[in-house]
Symmetry: C2
Subunit: 464 residues, 2 copies
């Protein structure tokens, strides 16, 4: 017995010794890091050096193998040390660009002061949900369909979605490969949360829908932006994607059609992206919320069954159901189960009667088509008007948004947007989608053509 | 210039050297830890040794001072090392105890096979929402109240909640100190997410509502359970709370009345808890979802305005609105803003028409009182029946659940619950609230008295 206790005590002393040594090395490391920061400041170099970080990370991964330590824990600790993961949440808080929601809040304040505002900032169509959706929701509430329900969604909606997706994308989908979420944002959050480990890198295509970056940072991940440009018609170069990948890259997020540019990835581009991600063991999240509004042929990630991917969509845009908060993910059974468990943990379930209404919406084929037609008419008319204006815009590939460029020698996008708001027109500055896009603005096709035309006229006046 | 570059390169090499040494020491440490685990197994000792952990922690804090390293980062790394925080998400996934939701799923499968089941597992009352809530929801949907809305909740509901809470707890609350969430789970998640850094410790009172532990682990935090016991009438010893606190303890979660025990903290206990948490700089999350169902006098954390706390409640139980998913948090303006931003990021907003219905619910005072009366009648009648049964149960302090004990020389709770289900009665095993509580079961007072009486009869038969 005494030898037993003795051996345990000896081991404990050894743990203490190793732990102390770790602390001592952390102390040494931190003091060198401080010196580096000072030196960089002196030389006028930027504080963050991606290449140096990447070198360190890959060296460390090798060393982990050498010492038989699991990479996961070490990368996590490394991230603690390079302060990426630390205060991840507070960094989310710090960046509050002029997002559509913030523009909306500012505009509403003006309205309270009596000013009239034309809202083209938020991606919320004016048409609202089909009548049948409203009556079904009401009937379900009256009938008492407000129970706790399955964390992955009610069976009948998952089944209906599987069929709907299968028909739309020529791919057989089973109901247990579908997760019902709280809008596409809910889907994006769950998809990222279930896939990311702190310290993982995620490739995003800029300009980029802001929640991707925020969610990744909140999860202790690191977003890396691959920028695309108007002068290049927002084309995505697969070689650049490949170059941007490193050992800690775990995900690539696609958004086709893109919010805010409206760009649609071609079949060839999708094919190449799938090939390179498969080769490099990187998973794909493909947000295809606007696929119904594609004008050019749209290719879904679902058409590549071999790819390890989460397909994300929602009922908000296609069925005018923004405030109902219904989105969905298609993925492997295992991933859907994992995401469902996380959703259950965080919110129990999506309200039952809303799911019943969503199932009804899927049968509203005429409304879906007419919404699609309406948005296309609007975007083509707006494009025509903008082509004759002082703004620069490419031919639209999808119909929900236009992302024209301003001559920044006159003024930048943020300034323009605030001046435009004084004239009663609310749009979103391009800076909301990345600082590089400050010479753009996003116009949502969410008002009748005449109203948008009126807005474009005033835009031209404001730009001088 | 060359010397500049040279000096930066030298420093970088030193960082790399220190980082490698950290990894090497982690490798050494982990192999000793493995040996300790083996040795403990051999000696039949428990794997977790709180005292040893505490000694290590206090030694490390001293060493931090010595090496000029910030304690915060080291304690977090230390927590990572002692493998509590590691694989947070996968551990959430692994532990799937027989939760109420899982029991419900199992029971529903039996029902599909034709068996009749009395559901006493889920905390969902049979009464449903007041009629006025249903009609208001329907009217709002018909009227088009399905827009994107403010991430913190619609103004009128926040105002109505502020008044409702103010009246209930004799504390003035402003609308911007209130956040509308997706049920209490949504509130718990946001409260924890906005407060916790990875590696932080959170004190929980056992037996404990499972999402606390799961959410904490998913956020990379470490739940530490302070156990309370039936033989002691679930009393909470403030000295034990204080003893359990260490330098990385950032939060204490209270749940009064408790799910599952029904225990209500006295004013004196609350006072002492507030005092010790304030002294130690620990924040409090107080989940008071069942406060309407307290039989003994209930004291809210809101009655201690000086305490740094998040108050959490929901409309699910008090207004029979489980499936509507409406909860709320009361906290400082700054924390509410932070949580709202996170909520916006993750789900955009809570559905607008549901919020309008919730506002209406707050005026349904008669229904609220009658639900409260009904639950009290049920629990008192059930208590009387159980007192005469083979189960051991204390006098209820609140009315939503009973948490009786089984004589485990006959069978443990998990076995009992599954045998009981074969007889068509579904309850939740105590093990769902912590392994220590395997000799308990939780009965929800969600059915008419006669039904519960019938269930208790069968319980007595099953226990033999």
């Amino acid at each position: 017995m005494t030898t037993d206790i003795y051996s345990l005590e000896t081991l404990r002393r050894q743990v203490l010794g190793a732990t102390r040594e770790i602390i001592r090395q952390i102390g040494i490391r931190q003091s060198i890091v401080k010196e580096i920061a000072l030196e960089k400041k002196r030389q006028g170099l930027p504080l963050i050096d991606r290449a140096a970080e990447a070198r360190l990370r890959s060296d460390i991964i090798n060393k982990c193998k050498h010492h038989g330590v699991s990479e996961g824990i070490v990368l996590r600790i490394l991230n603690n040390l390079i302060e990426h993961a630390i205060n991840a949440q507070s960094s989310v808080m710090d960046e509050r660009p002029l997002s559509p929601a913030r523009m909306n809040t500012i505009a509403k304040k003006l309205e309270m002061d009596g000013q009239q505002v034309i809202h083209l900032e938020i991606g919320e169509p004016d048409f609202g949900p089909p009548t049948k959706v409203k009556t079904t929701a009401s009937r379900s509430i009256a009938g008492g369909a407000s129970h706790y329900c399955h964390e992955a969604g009610i069976h009948s909606l998952r089944e209906a979605l599987a069929q709907h997706i299968g028909t739309s994308h020529a791919r057989e989908v089973e109901s247990d490969e579908v997760l019902v979420t709280l809008g596409a944002r809910g889907a994006i959050w769950l998809s990222l949360m279930s896939a990311l480990r702190p310290g993982d890198e995620v490739l995003l295509i800029g300009p980029s829908y802001p929640p991707y970056g925020s969610c990744i940072r909140a999860l202790g991940g690191k977003p890396t932006f691959i920028e695309t440009h108007a002068h290049n018609e927002w084309q995505l170069d697969v070689d650049i994607i490949e170059e941007a990948m490193n050992e800690s890259t775990s995900l690539l997020v696609l958004n086709t059609p893109s919010n805010p540019t409206g760009h649609v990835l071609t079949r060839d581009e999708m094919q190449d992206i799938v090939a390179v991600t498969q080769e490099r063991g990187v998973s794909v999240i493909s947000d295809e919320v606007y696929s119904d509004f594609s004008i050019v042929p749209h290719t879904s990630i679902l058409e590549f069954p071999g790819s390890e991917s989460d397909y994300i969509s929602s009922m908000s845009k296609s069925f005018g159901m923004t405030g109902f908060r219904i989105g969905y993910v298609v993925s492997s059974r295992e991933r859907i189960k994992r995401m469902a468990q996380l959703q259950g943990m965080m919110v129990t379930c999506v309200p039952e009667f809303i799911q019943i209404a969503a199932r009804e919406a899927l049968s509203c084929i005429d409304e879906r088509l007419s919404y699609k037609r309406l948005m296309k008419e609007r975007v083509l008319a707006s494009y025509k008007l903008l082509s004759r204006s002082k703004f620069n815009v490419g031919e639209p590939q999808s119909s929900f948004y236009l992302f024209p460029r301003i001559d920044t020698t006159i003024m930048n996008g943020d300034t323009f947007v605030m001046k435009l708001l004084e004239r009663g027109i609310c749009v979103t500055p391009g800076s909301a989608y990345g600082k590089r896009y400050v010479d753009h603005i996003r116009i949502a096709m969410t008002q009748p053509i005449d109203t948008i035309a009126q807005a474009i006229n005033i835009m031209d006046e404001v730009v001088g």
